[in-house]
Symmetry: C2
Subunit: 203 residues, 2 copies
């Protein structure tokens, strides 16, 4: 079975023995002839896929009443895959969603690692540092690199921990963030697990 998670920048394919990404700008989905179950937050790609009968939109199989109109399908699928968790999906944005006893409690959106790096540099060249992911979260910073790293990461960390639930990390920057979220479990395949559950339940 071939699954595909389509974001703003890439198609992420996962089969029984395959796992690869293709650039949204360069890849032509019509070159895939087998059946593909997909989710997409990319409107432009979604429109194209409607013309290809072998591409099956899993987003249509979801009861969206539990969520909200503009919530990304990737977040919904991740929530569907969890029972009790704070789910952190670290990509171009960092989405944080809370599930308690299978119920979606709500969630928030924080800028991703690259976006936040650019933000600090744009405020002042004096803030143009790479983030320190080995930061000591227990200590208030006394240098500029740690001052922006703490601003970006400790604020997120404190908020996430306040929900007292197991933490699941996924997305392209999950491993960077994992250094600071020592309590978290990294699950790179979380979205694909959610998609597989949907297929079993709904098809």
């Amino acid at each position: 079975m071939l699954l595909c998670d389509i974001g703003n920048t890439s198609f992420h394919f996962k089969g029984d023995s395959e796992n690869y990404k293709r650039d949204v700008a360069a890849f032509n989905p019509a070159t895939i002839t087998q059946k593909v179950y997909y989710i997409s937050v990319n409107q432009a790609v979604s429109v194209k896929l409607k013309q290809l009968p072998n591409w099956i939109d899993l987003g249509k199989k979801i009861d969206k009443k539990k969520y909200y109109e503009t919530m990304g399908i990737d977040r919904i699928v991740a929530v569907e895959a969890c029972t009790n968790a704070v789910i952190i999906d670290a990509g171009s944005a960092i989405t944080v969603d809370v599930v308690r006893d299978d119920e979606f409690m709500g969630g928030f959106i924080y800028p991703g690692v690259n976006a936040m790096q650019k933000t600090y540099s744009a405020i002042s060249p004096a803030l143009e540092y790479a983030f320190n992911f080995d930061l000591d979260l227990e200590k208030l910073p006394k240098n500029s690199q740690d001052a922006i790293s703490y601003g970006f990461l400790k604020t997120l960390h404190t908020e996430v921990l306040s929900h007292n639930l197991p933490i699941v990390l996924t997305g392209g920057d999950a491993h960077k963030i994992a250094t600071l979220f020592k309590e978290a479990r990294v699950d790179e395949a979380l979205l694909f697990k959610g998609m597989q559950e949907l297929i079993v339940k709904k098809l």
Copy 2:
């Protein structure tokens, strides 16, 4: 007595009965002939002011050993003005500094309101919302505007409150942020108070 706080974008003057700002790009400091006590985080302006004998750099009067090399003089002066506080200076960046029993414990730097607004818009047009400063901080969001507002503001709020100290808000965006920090005292003149204390102590 005329005081001046010089940032990246403006000269902020405060006299006995005056309080006004001048744009850094357009204002010529040589047009001021009276004595001015100033602090500056603007390197280009600082260089010019060294040529003007009536402009007195208060930054030179500070014992910087308690702080760190690259810490902005505005943050240091605010810390000097407080005994027990979390000081939030909300400008192009939001600096947060902790003082306990007159001792500087450290601090961090978070992006300012305008910077963060641009960050979300740049990640995706789907995140192009104005922040909701009337957000309910006790409730996880279930709509996009609140999801980014919570991401920006609740994370900061949770971290600031974790220090269990009185909160003082200053800077150009202090009033926007104050809606969410109901526990905070807004003190727009905090830096000028710190400067005045320095003058009394050191001159």
